[in-house]
Amino acid sequence: MKETFLPSQPGDDEKNRLARILNIILLFMSVGSITVALIGLLTGRSNLAIVMCISAVTAIVSLLLARRGMVQQAGFLVLILLVAILNMLLIIGTGIHDIAIMLVPVIILIAGLLLNRTGLILITGLTSLSLALIIWGEIDGILRTPYSAYTDWGDLVIVFIIIAVSTTTVRLLIEDLRASLRRAYSSEAKYKAVIENNPSIIYIQGLKEENPTFYISSQVNHLLGFSTQAFLDEPYLWVQLLHPDDKEKVLAENKRTNKSLEPFIMDYRMTAKNGQVVWVNDHAVVVRDSNGKPDFWLGIWTDITERKQMENALRLSEERYRLISEVSVDYTFSTEVDAQGEMRLTWVAGAFQSMTGYTFDEYVTAGGWRGRLHPDDRERDDGYLEILQKNQPVIGEVRTLKKDGELRWVRVYAHPVWERAGRRLAGIYGAVQDITERKQVEAEREKLIRELEAKNTELEQFTYTVSHDLKSPLVTVNGFLDFLKKDVGSGNIEKSNQDISRISDAVQKMEALLNELLELSRIGRMMNPSEDVSFGGIVLEARDQVRGRLEAKKVEVEIQEGLPSVRGDRVRLVEVVQNLLDNAAKFMGSQPKPKVKVGIRGTDDRGNPVFYVQDNGIGIDPRFHERIFGLFNKLNPNIEGTGIGLALVKRIVDVHGGRVWVESDGTNGSTFLFTLPPIPKS
């Protein structure tokens, strides 16, 4: 029984409808026949009981036939039975005037419902024929009933009219019904086709928590690997399929929208039966019934896995680009020459922002490339543009100002965009690279090379001077040894003694030279550790060491009070002052009141104190101000000393990072000045 009512395939719809009607009729017939049969038995009308028993049996047989799917056959059987029952009732009753005649329209109605056109005509014909036979029997006297006397051929006409009217009416009714059904069926099929062929999944869910599934379109099988039935059997299956990472937020939103009845719109992940993760876009709205009361959720699931994958790929690509921009030290750019002939930046990519400190718009506002160029490099940049205007690429190096004012060296690789028609530069594309560090390294290297060159020159000068000055005494010694031989040979004692003294002097001079050279070479190599020392103390110590010469020449020494402390090698610094004091005493000339002043004269531009040793001696011609600091450069060969003193002073001051120079007009004494590093402020 149950199978009969199951939703059937579209082709079996008609059959099912008939089966349903037939079933009802047959049930009524079975029950009715058995009831009437019982009444007949109880009232002693055995004829009736037998007829009803046959009727009941026939009805049950038809029922079995119908269940086997033989609906037409069962219907036909039932109707023949009904016709037979009608005839029997008429025969056992009062003939054509019996009340059972009322069954005629019923039979025709049932035939119309159950049978096709042929079946209906057959049943109508059969009924007409049997009734005609009954009328003929009554008129002819074969059938005798209490009302047979009233029967005539006119009754046959009436019966035919009733049958014709009934048949036509039933036929029209049935046609109309069938047409309606067909229309309904086709409309439903259309909607069904729309739903089932839609790429999205349509579902209906209940309003209570976790929303049980009432309906879901069949495509869900394709997406999640579970059939519609699976969702109907387990209304909460959709919750189980939620991706663990998204479950919480989906259910939270679900709860919220269940309460507020706002549309539920969300992208989330679900896990298909095969374990694959799928992205869906879920869009559901509440459908209300005709009274406006919320009835159910109608929703659509759209598979957005591909879109999400693309989005993800795009995001990854953007992320990668951003990361590359961050680590990159270059940026690329393009410019355009606009209608006014101005070069306009149109596009940048790479480390633009980190290199300039500006966003694109800020950069343009701040004057762009030219505006951020170091003023001293504009001319060079003009030169690059000239090359580009000849349609040739150029590689240049300039300094640019960052937003924070920091000066950076950049190398720019620029290519012209050439407009053939106008034979002019239409724009530039290229790359800019930060080369500040390389430039710094280069500058450092240049500085080292210069220092090394200076050292080399110094060394060359040193070797040169040393070879010359050390050879001189040897020439002297050898020469006078020869003279000595001759003088001794000729017995000239006096001359011999002179020769010996010359030799002895030369040897002493050589020794002194060697000692001082050794001393000079030690400076810088053999330094004492730096300490903070009072410069006043240094001056006093130096003065004590040259006390002999100062006193011999009656030189007065004046030392300024409150001299600051300096940082350096105390022993060497004493040597500096000592040499300068010694020099001052040496070159006093005929000064009647020889005086030396030691003091401080402010600081230099780097904040180093400038000390001085000033004398009122013979002075130094400005032409010789440089030369006096050279090794063995003596201005007066008759003055004692080796010519190393000032070279030594210069070397010590150099090693301390200071500077030494002399001021003198060549007549009124000289002032030696030197700078020394101050004590660093802690």
């Binding site: 000055d469 201005l635 007066n636």
Partner: protein, 147 residues
């Protein structure tokens, strides 16, 4: 030529060396007169007839100049340059006599048109021989220009 007394100018800051040169030349009876200057400035003053050397009678032009390179105040090369840049003095033969064998000095001296470059030998025998040869060559064999 022979009737004219030969005058040698010696520019040498080292008095010992000056004495060696003078005595050696005297021993060989080469020079009639040797004028010694111990620095470049004085030598130039003499040649250019400045300061106390204004009188041409007492300050005659030398026939040859023996010039040391390392001199106080005005360096030997500067003296050489001054001589060779001077129209009147440039024809006087200048012989550099120095202890320096430095390539740089040799080059610069010749660049400044020195007539000869001699290095003082350390051994006295060679020194003596050099002085002898120098005397013969520059003061004997060599024909001097008219000054």
């Amino acid at each position: 030529m022979m009737g004219e007394p030969v005058l040698v100018m010696l520019v040498e800051d080292n008095v010992d060396h000056a004495e060696l040169v003078i005595r050696t030349l005297e021993d060989h009876h080469i020079a009639n007169r040797i004028q010694h200057f111990s620095d470049g400035q004085a030598a130039l003053d003499y040649l250019l007839r400045r300061e106390q050397y204004t009188d041409p009678e007492t300050s005659p032009r030398p026939h040859v100049i023996l010039l040391d390179l390392r001199l106080p105040r005005v360096d030997g090369l500067e003296v050489l340059q001054a001589i060779k840049d001077n129209e009147e003095l440039k024809s006087i033969p200048v012989v550099v006599l120095t202890t320096s064998e430095a390539e740089r000095d040799v080059t610069r001296a010749y660049h400044n048109h020195v007539n000869s470059y001699l290095v003082k030998p350390v051994g006295f025998e060679e020194f003596s021989k050099l002085m002898n040869d120098l005397g013969f060559y520059w003061l004997g064999w060599n024909t001097h220009p008219r000054i």
